[in-house]
Symmetry: C2
Subunit: 332 residues, 2 copies
């Protein structure tokens, strides 16, 4: 059986099973592990601290193309998507290891630009490059491993409960709109176009929002990288629940509606690459949290008792539409 | 200027400069950093603990070929080379993040074998897979990020002092001999051949030896991955010293002499992929440490006042030979 036949998520599930089955030894380190494979970041306990760790890789031709993104934006994004995983736990990033796979004919100045992008994200989110590795490769790839700290309790995917309201920060679908425009050669001139392009190449991880959610009593959250419906479904699987999304409540930026008057909702529901926070909690907590986050958060659905992972999208007339098979699976 | 023109190490140096120049912000995380880019692992201080972190990547066609190594051995080695970096700091590994770059047509069972190799190393060295990432790629790569803990003081590359003796664990050159034999189609049947092959595909990181060195007062150490002369030169650069190696003292396994009666010394001096520990210290400390490690450690040189990084290899007749330009630079 080949990976492309079963897809990324079945493969990960089978590897997770192998890890869990692996015989553990006497002086077992797992007693310190708080969260393993399956959340935005791993978490373990060290003396007095809960530490977080995540890793994300961007591969040329799969996650980016050099003609669509500058080296500096690439560096920013590679770091930002990892910072977003730490934000989704309610933590703050600390140290990072940067691995670059590079073609020998790559210009040194381009690598410096890449690093400048990485470093500008490090400055913005107060983390530091502690080490890394550089290897020769036939296409460019960037792997960031990011360590963080949770100063309070953690946000996890397992804590959504039936009756909870579901909300998100920011607006959704802009990055997917930007990508579609680039792929189809649609001009991104003007403010609207630039907004979509920036959403794609310069995502803003929600570190402060994540920490604020924790301090307001939210316990269930994740970041949206594979699309709202797909990621909400993952949260629902982890929590053993289902969810309903009210399509008309999904926050969409005017620039996206301008550029894609027909398709904006599909981008917002299934686009991906948003790096906004998706969170759930009891009504009174959600309303307080959303008020605190101001116009930058929106309630858009509810957690329900359902087959775990089932997410239904409801339109204004109440008619349930099956979400299109969305989300990213680069292997299928 | 292209990477292949300046090489891996000049590129790393220039990136390190960028990191150091990067403006630091008010709530600066660097105050907790103990060791950044340039040693076997990074180290930082968390409440009550010194934490270590390292990352190493193996790329198909650069660091391994599928026809020469099984998926399971590949998994072992990918983890072992990282564990070796933690061993070189005198620490012990704890948690790891595993990133796999895989072709879509890769067999799922092969990925499982890879994971079995990784997991067997995890069991052996008591560390745990806490997370990771799987991405589509045009050739296989494996990136391991490994976290560890230093329970005592650390071994670093900066602590070699003139007059120190230089010693290594184990014997050197077998992995390079194994690689040469595979590349030239020389049979590796029989015990000798198998020894060389195992040295190449199943290296044994020296975690216990590293911890023992710390407890015996050794402060300067690193692991040998790029070849004895090249790595000793790196330690010397970090410490601002030079070194002399007595060629006839370099420990060489009989299997390597058998297989390569002409070239064994060149493999031992410049071969790489050894994952033995190279360490330096005052005579009385080194002799005590070597005695404690038994037949598994050998004194082979001395640290001298010299141009930082200069390593001279002396043969029996006292004639200094300039080391061949050794070490691995995959970009040149």
């Amino acid at each position: 059986v080949k990976i492309q036949e079963i897809g990324e998520f079945a493969l990960i599930q089978s590897l997770r099973d192998l890890v869990c089955q692996s015989v553990t030894s006497a002086g077992d380190i797992t007693s310190e592990l708080l969260l393993g494979i399956g959340d935005d970041a791993a978490a373990w306990y060290t003396t007095g601290t809960t530490e977080l760790a995540t890793t994300d890789t961007m591969v040329e031709g799969v996650h980016f193309r050099h003609e669509f993104t500058s080296w500096q934006d690439l560096g920013w994004k590679a770091m930002a998507v990892n910072v977003s995983d730490i934000a989704a736990m309610g933590g703050r990033p600390t140290f990072t290891l940067v691995t670059l796979g590079l073609r020998p004919e790559t210009n040194v100045e381009d690598v410096h630009e890449l690093y400048r992008g990485i470093l500008s994200a490090c400055r913005e989110y107060n983390c530091y490059i502690a080490g890394g590795d550089i290897v020769r490769a036939s296409s460019t790839f960037i792997t960031i491993a990011l360590i963080g700290v949770s100063d309070q309790s953690m946000l996890t995917r397992q804590m959504a409960r039936p009756g909870d309201l579901v909300a998100v920060t920011g607006s959704l679908g802009c990055a997917a709109g930007g990508l579609r425009a680039l792929a189809e050669g649609i001009s991104l001139d003007g403010d609207s176009g630039d907004h979509l392009y920036q959403a794609l190449v310069h995502p803003i991880p929600r570190v402060k929002a994540g920490q604020a959610l924790v301090s307001h009593g939210i316990q269930a959250a994740m970041d949206i990288s594979d699309g709202l419906v797909d990621d909400l479904s993952k949260m629902c699987v982890s929590s053993g629940v289902g969810a309903v999304i009210y399509a008309d409540s999904v926050p969409v930026h005017p620039s996206l509606k301008d550029a894609f008057p027909q398709d904006y909702l599909s981008f917002a529901l299934n686009g991906g690459d948003d790096y906004e926070l998706l969170f759930a909690g009891r009504e009174e907590i959600i309303f307080r949290a959303v008020a605190m986050l101001g116009s930058s958060a929106t309630v858009l659905g509810r957690i329900v008792v359902e087959h775990p992972g089932k997410v239904e999208v409801l339109h204004e007339n109440g008619y349930g539409v099956q979400p299109t098979a969305g989300g990213w699976d680069h292997f299928r």
